[in-house]
Symmetry: C2
Subunit: 424 residues, 2 copies
Amino acid sequence: MTSRRDCEALDAQDPLAALRAQFTLPAGTIYLDGNSLGVLPASTARRVQEVVTREWGEDLITSWNKAGWIHQPLRVGTKIGRLIGAREGETLAADSTSANLYKVLSAALELIKRDGAPQRRTIVSERQNFPTDLYIAESLAAQHGFTLKLVDAEEIGAHIGAGLAVLMLTQVNYRSGRVHDMAALTRAAHAAGALTVWDLAHSAGAIPVDLNGAEADFAIGCGYKYLNGGPGAPAFVWAHRRHLERMDRDGLWQPLAGWMGHAAPFEFSSAYRPAPGIARFACGTPAVLSLAALECGVDSVLAAEPLGGMAALRRKSLALTNLFIRLVEERCAGHGLELVTPRDESVRGSQVSFARAEGGYAIVQALIERGVIGDFRAPDVLRFGFTPLYLRFADVWDAVEQLRQVLETGQWREARFNVKAAVT
Amino acid sequence: MTSRRDCEALDAQDPLAALRAQFTLPAGTIYLDGNSLGVLPASTARRVQEVVTREWGEDLITSWNKAGWIHQPLRVGTKIGRLIGAREGETLAADSTSANLYKVLSAALELIKRDGAPQRRTIVSERQNFPTDLYIAESLAAQHGFTLKLVDAEEIGAHIGAGLAVLMLTQVNYRSGRVHDMAALTRAAHAAGALTVWDLAHSAGAIPVDLNGAEADFAIGCGYKYLNGGPGAPAFVWAHRRHLERMDRDGLWQPLAGWMGHAAPFEFSSAYRPAPGIARFACGTPAVLSLAALECGVDSVLAAEPLGGMAALRRKSLALTNLFIRLVEERCAGHGLELVTPRDESVRGSQVSFARAEGGYAIVQALIERGVIGDFRAPDVLRFGFTPLYLRFADVWDAVEQLRQVLETGQWREARFNVKAAVT
């Protein structure tokens, strides 16, 4: 049996332990929800204040040049790119994940249509994909005369065939934490003549990603989860340069053709001419305050680079999730928790989910009252995110101890834990 | 001739003079660019800091309920609604102006298509409309099989006829400051069987707007100009309730069908079901930090309500622009400045633009060096915005005096003023 002392020993040897000091963490809280909203980097408050009071308040419009606001989307995007196997200038930070998915999926459908093959009219995705991805795909499928086919994770391979236009997947499932094999699925999709769109919402900053290595086609992702960019932070968008070059060559637009994606926005020309490269995926004026916060968050992940970067973060992430699984199964046995996340660490993201037939929501609420923040995902999943930047092995032990107490005392059955809040 | 003392007397009698204290204004600057980027309200820095350090840093995900983040887009939208003749709950703050235009113009085209009349396939807009509006319209026209027809302002009436699907106009032209008659044009468009989409980028907080009074169909607008929401602030979107009710009834979507526009986002259903009312125009997760700043900005305009609101702001705005026009024509006569903005105040926004055959950019740069911030809009327009919330009549006098000196000394001819920056 693992003891708390064993966990403390692991912390003492943790080569990434110093990264925790980058964050402002609320006292008395073990935060296992960095996969929903990352914590606050200590640098963010200062930086946002500087943007508000000096860059905006004092320098006003001159900051578009002087403070480099105009370059922010590409600068922050390029930093994110270092975490996902993108080259410099291939990634743009902008808009929301949903809006960015709309842009790249539109572009992918347009490329497919241009290549003929009218039988290729199916978008395949996972039934358990995050809803917003499915809604956007449903919207675009209807507009473009495609069919959205939702299949279970294990059936995806069987649906990669002649009719496939785009395989659109979230690499790490938000509920189960299962990881799709980006390289293998992209290869299979390409062999079938299809394109891939990858949602990296639970990948960027969570697991090593190599978009160029996998020859992926398009990708988007979220700024406010593992990238610690703050609530509603701008998202990001990436496209393989073979598609960017083709879009340049053929004069293809993405549909959200706002002025910031124009080749020369300050010429105020009445005719659209897309900017070259990934900049064509910009739309409106960049959200300067939110981008400043996002940059601090991304920097907090990049701070791991001298310590081994995403590979080192991945080692610790797996050590944390392995420990959590083992401790829950040792110490909370007989309480009906069923592991949803793969036991095979090669296909596990940076989270652990358990299903429970009854009381999942109330158990999460009772844990929150005890300072252990996880979340509940309908209908029956207790979800715990593990962010190696700031979590300690002793935190894992303490979290499991609280879970054990909630289950053994039956405290979660109290009425107050069963009242549903507006947002779970 | 008007003297500086006369201007000081006007300031002494100004019933809105106290509103200036709401803002943090850089010393030694006369800011005539609030129509590009509004100034910083003093409350914003504190409020943003509170959101960052307490709501995000301490309360983390619980702030979605506890701090009301989830209600922010409708709450801030409803406040903006008070400035534009919207009822409670009819306006949503979200995304960028460009993205919101994409949503409402798509919805308008979809409504037109559903009503048959296949000859009605033209979107009419103004040739001198702000480019991003034209780009988005061009994108949607191509997608939906419509034609975008650009006409000069004075020709618009002649193009309202049987083929018209949507009349899409920016109410106040960004370059000339000319105001379109929203009520009359909407009436004419409706009589022809068409719909209207109004961009209020230079209207909201600048002139009185009555969307419901005009029976307008759809509107969008910008948060970072006269609403003082900060660089890249979220924009807003409005739709008349007859269209919202119809979209509810017929189950119509807007294309950016992200999860925040779902009727029950936290059910995580795989099928989209649009939220009722304006909430269907939400897309991704709200940009909490930027929305907090925008709310402070909107509050700075609403602070005029006890003093007469938009009607009082309008009176002062016209007094400021009338004074500026008169002083420039008195004191800078013979220097080739030609008034572009209408002399008729009933069709003038809250800005004054002058064209000059030569040197416009350099003159603006020379003024900026002297602390008078205006901007240049290619090819030949010197543009000055007047925001009655914080500008004084003496500021107008001082700005004209600097302009006079720049012109009389020929200082703008110096090489350093003629070097083009990346962003003008």
